[in-house]
């Protein structure tokens, strides 16, 4: 088996509230989602909400955040999703899309799931707060195998914009 394999992709040709990768096979060791996204939120730095298996409980995260002016850290415990994923909102420079990576190791193991998330909405602005980059330690306190991943914009009342592209890779150590 190849080490790094594209499982599924979704390039939006119209707006969408959320993107879900479902029926993820258990044949890999780790998963990685990489995406380029922009929402119609009236901001520079919009949010993406991430859930696994359709669950709405037991998500927690600790994030390191830089905005070109200050560095800070925040956390959420026992939340309904992870949301320290920052991508471009519709006030940002035209044709710019935020980038994010979500790495899920040992996704079929019967243990709590630690996850690494990085994101940025770089858009050629020198105004503090308009550009945000994040590095996040996330945890889903659930021992079930991960079978679906949802990247949602509607929690913020927004939609993914056309041109946003999402890719799910499987990584095998077999």
């Amino acid at each position: 088996m190849a080490t790094y394999t594209l499982i599924s992709s979704n390039v939006l040709s119209s707006t969408a509230g959320s993107v879900t990768f479902s029926a993820i096979p258990s044949s890999y060791t780790d998963l990685e989602v990489r995406f380029s996204g922009r929402t119609n939120d009236t901001s520079w730095a919009a949010y993406c909400w991430v859930t696994l298996n359709g669950a709405t409980t037991n998500f927690s995260e600790t994030a390191l955040v830089g905005n070109g002016s200050t560095a800070s850290s925040n956390r959420d415990s026992a939340s309904s999703s992870w949301y320290q994923v920052r991508i471009n909102g519709n006030n940002s420079t035209a044709s710019t899309y935020g980038n994010a990576s979500i790495y899920i190791p040992s996704y079929t193991a019967s243990q709590n799931k630690p996850v690494s998330i990085t994101s940025t909405n770089e858009g050629n602005s020198s105004t503090a707060g308009q550009i945000v980059m994040t590095a996040t330690a996330a945890l889903w306190s659930n021992t079930a195998a991960v079978t679906s991943i949802t990247l949602d914009a509607t929690t913020g009342g927004t939609l993914w914009m056309s041109g946003s592209s999402f890719y799910l890779y499987g990584i095998s150590n077999a």
């Binding site: 780790d30 600790t62 994030a63 800070s72 850290s73 415990s77 243990q111 690494s116 330690a137 945890l139």
Partner: protein, 167 residues
């Protein structure tokens, strides 16, 4: 075409062990990537030694957040690479990655390190970190050894070494 991203070796501990070591690493790739997910018997630092070198030849600059603040510091004269001040958890798996660049070259060896130590505690006893480490040695890296400062790494912990090829 050569394979760009390839597994070199992988270990899932069937019993607790004081170290996970990958040795006899060939020089066939350009970079190495080490992915670790696991726990240990004590909350000691996650450590990485190269070529069995335990001398004071390692240094690092670490940037981390604990949900309360963002911090950075550097260390010189260390006897290993280490990703954060959090250390291993005895119960919640932590994800750590080491990217070792140009590992077979004849310059000092640099690593980009990330660690995701979220524990759903609601306090500052958890961290996300990114850091750079340096091994002041010009030898090609032929072995990597993950440790817990003398404590055992727990059963079920997994480490995988990947080779990344530019040519």
């Amino acid at each position: 075409m050569a394979t760009t991203y390839e597994k070199i070796a992988s270990t899932t501990l069937g019993s607790a062990s004081s170290a996970i070591t990958f040795s006899s690493i060939a020089s066939s790739w350009t970079d190495l990537r080490l992915v670790i997910i696991g726990t240990a018997a004590a909350a000691n630092y996650v450590t990485l030694n190269l070529n069995s070198d335990t001398g004071a030849n390692y240094s690092q600059t670490i940037l981390y957040g604990n949900g309360t603040g963002a911090y950075t510091f550097n260390q010189t004269g260390d006897t290993y690479m280490w990703p954060n001040t959090l250390g291993w958890s005895t119960t919640i798996p932590q994800l750590i990655t080491f990217d070792l660049f140009s590992y077979a070259g004849s310059t000092y060896k640099t690593a980009l390190v990330t660690a995701s130590g979220e524990r759903n505690l609601g306090n500052a006893n958890q961290q996300v970190s990114t850091s750079v480490s340096l091994w002041q040695n010009t030898a090609a890296i032929t072995s990597v050894s993950i440790g817990a400062q003398g404590a055992n790494i727990s059963i079920g912990s997994t480490a995988t070494l990947y080779g990344i090829k530019a040519a």
